[in-house]
Amino acid sequence: MRIHVILLTFLLLVSAFVAPGRAEVTVIKAGKILTMSGEPITDGVILVEDGKIAEIGTGIEIPEEAVVIDAGKSVVTPGFVDASAPAPVRGDLNEQSGEITPTLRISDALDPQSKTLKRVVQMGVTTLFVSPGPQNVIGGLGVVVKPSGKIPQQMIVKDEAALRIVMDLDATQGNRIPRYQSPTNFYYRRPGTRMAIIWMLRKSFFDAQRQADSEQIEDPNLAILSAALNDEIPIHVNARRAIVIRAALKVADEYGLKLIFQECTEGYKVAKQLAEKKIPVVLGPFYYYPGNMGQYREGRKVNWNNAGILAKAGVKVALSSGEQSGAIDMLTAAAFAVRHGMDRDEALKAITITPAEILGVAERVGSLEKGKDADIVILSGDPLDVTTRVEKVILNGKTVYQ
């Protein structure tokens, strides 16, 4: 009995000093603000109103009713944008009933209660690009989401944000003639090889073009591909090895496609072409855990100089977690990239504004500027220091982690 009373007393005393976060105006004071859109601000202030950044800079007047978060000497950055995030989805990610499924929207499978979301928020990620599974050649439409909201619709920032194409052998997964089963099993189908993957890709776009020319929209799948042909929907291609990247570039040339590469582990081998064609790249994880590699190990040996070489050649580079949940940290990815040749500022941009631009959501996220969403990360020190901790994460103006 006594213990309970003392505990209650303690809690009451503490509560008297902790400010409840219900006010509409929040002010964040920090020693160093890295806006990603200009020079860092020292001893600056960010004024947040209704989930958006109302003011940012020095010498800003703080309103009476504002809730103040004094981050002291901490460093503040925009919330990180993971352009190849682990999927907060329930059930199987991959639709096994077909290989070309452009109409599939991964937004239909989002699970706001997924534990993945909690994990990524703790690492400072406030915007995620979620793709359909990697086992289909054309897997469907990805979606840009934020880890907030009760139902999937409330999470979405941009739906049907990009079409996913997978060109490494991952797309052949499951497609074999099962030894002891009948040939009518629906896993008995193409592609089983890289040739078949590329063939299927060509055929799909060929059919799409033909349908578009004839002006009759019969097949909704082809309609999506037509839109992709017309640059109405961006195309993300997963390709790790250089030969695969080159093959993708060839198909892109044939059909006039504008591509964005994901993973691109051997991108440094084709850096010049990528720069010439102005193709942006979202690099995968800087380390593939052996347990996570699955059957298809080609191209999973990462050359850590990749990011640096691509950046120096003039390619727009974003760093991502490569759909690996839990272990890969955006900041660690950036630190590794810098250690192996990437420029500091570019690396930090590569986890914030650059992916936002690549995803087409840069008017809302990616940097700390007036009018953008108040997605803010407060760090205990230099972002590229391995001992730095994420102290607080603010999403749409609300503190979601501390």
């Binding site: 989805v89 096994q96 599939l104 209660q113 469907g140 999937p152």
Partner: protein, 378 residues
């Protein structure tokens, strides 16, 4: 020590019957103490406190008992073959819209007798949740002794499922995104005005997208319910959510769309958190009807559900409605069932105490004025 069943012979329906009871739970008109129900030709002719009993008619003296309307199990799978789990779902094809669940029903199965002994007089016989586009549920009265009239509605709408249970590894769809895509594809095809011959799936789905027949959508978790709501919004469907267990977390969104909910049974092994959900949903204005989802659970659990829900926050009046009139309204048979009112079918349950008490046992059950179950004393 066995339970006896009186399957009355034909001709007794025209008999009149008067029942005297200590408490009559009419559901729609409050509780009548020391009242009388007069039954004529299978229907309730009158019910009230001071009703004169006409000369010569048979009187059932239940003056120390309670009477309530026969309970309606809003979703169950009884009377299907012995290998119970396989008959509920046509799992070979993802789209099984033209499967009539009534075709698989055995009206003489023990399940029916069990249902009667639990006070269930009408059921919605439904397919399971493993088909994205499932079959056609039926509304049945469990008085199988007559050759006619026990099938109230042969095909009461179309069953859909957006639950992960509808995903299979060896049949499409294998992913949730694929599931939603498939449902949309089928509904889009149904909207088209093509005439390319015999296509039962399209004709049936037309009922739902065009003719406004009810879509019964299985969805349990918040994300599944959100998917269901998305389809309802996009295709402007008249719909009912089946299961919606986590519905209390987004109750306002469900209430906004006037979606009723057929709620799964609350069990004596449920956690407190889950036991409170039904009450929360009802308090947000959602119409709830309980289902036993037999054989996944027991038919006893229907009344037990209402009692547990009442214990954990659902008000007693709504709890009783959720066993009777709410289900009748959702299933579209409220003109005949769901309350003890003049003109409705004489489907009644007689208990030796308050219906919302586990200590009360069911003594007698009548359908269309005929005694179809009577508890044997030892």
């Amino acid at each position: 020590m066995s339970i006896s069943f009186c399957l009355t012979s034909s001709g007794s329906e025209s008999q009149s019957l008067a029942i005297r009871a200590s408490k009559i739970w009419t559901i729609t008109d409050g509780v009548i103490t020391n009242g009388v129900i007069i039954i004529n030709e299978g229907k309730i002719q009158s019910v009230g406190e001071n009703i004169e009993i006409p000369e010569g008619i048979r009187v059932l003296d239940m003056s120390d008992k309670d009477v309530m309307p026969g309970m309606i199990d809003a979703h169950c799978h009884i009377g299907l073959s012995l290998d119970i789990f396989s008959e509920m779902d046509e799992t070979v094809a993802a789209v099984a819209a033209d499967m009539l669940i009534l075709d698989a029903f055995n009206p003489y199965s023990d399940d029916v007798k069990k249902a009667l002994s639990c006070g269930v007089t009408t059921i919605m016989l439904a397919p399971g949740n493993r088909n994205p586009v499932g079959g056609l549920p039926a509304v049945l009265k469990l008085d199988i002794s007559k050759a006619n009239d026990w099938v109230l509605v042969r095909a009461a709408g179309v069953e859909f499922s957006v639950m992960n249970e509808a995903l299979m590894f060896d049949r499409e769809p294998t992913s949730r995104a694929g599931l939603m895509d498939l449902i949309r594809e089928e509904l889009d095809k149904a909207k088209e005005d093509k005439d390319d011959g015999f296509n039962p799936t399209r004709d049936i789905l037309k009922r739902v997208v065009v003719a406004n027949k009810t879509a019964y959508i299985w969805a349990r978790n918040v994300d599944e319910i959100a998917s269901a709501m998305a389809i309802v919004d996009e295709y402007e469907l008249k719909a009912v959510l089946v299961t919606a267990e986590q519905g209390d977390e987004i109750a306002d969104m469900i209430a906004e769309r006037n979606l009723p909910v057929i709620y799964p049974p609350l069990l004596l092994s449920s956690r407190d958190k889950d036991l409170k959900r039904a009450g929360k949903m009802a308090n947000s204005g959602i119409k709830i009807a309980f289902a036993s989802l037999t054989p996944r659970t027991d038919l006893h659990d229907l009344r037990t559900s209402a009692i547990l829900a009442a214990k954990y926050g659902l008000d007693t009046e709504t709890a009783l409605k959720s066993l009777t009139i709410n289900a009748a309204e959702i299933l579209g048979v409220a003109d005949r069932l769901g309350s003890i009112s003049e003109g409705k079918d004489a489907d009644l349950v007689i208990l030796n105490g308050d219906p919302l008490q586990l200590t009360s046992s069911i003594e007698m059950v009548l359908i269309n004025g005929n005694i179809v179950y009577q508890r044997q004393e030892e």
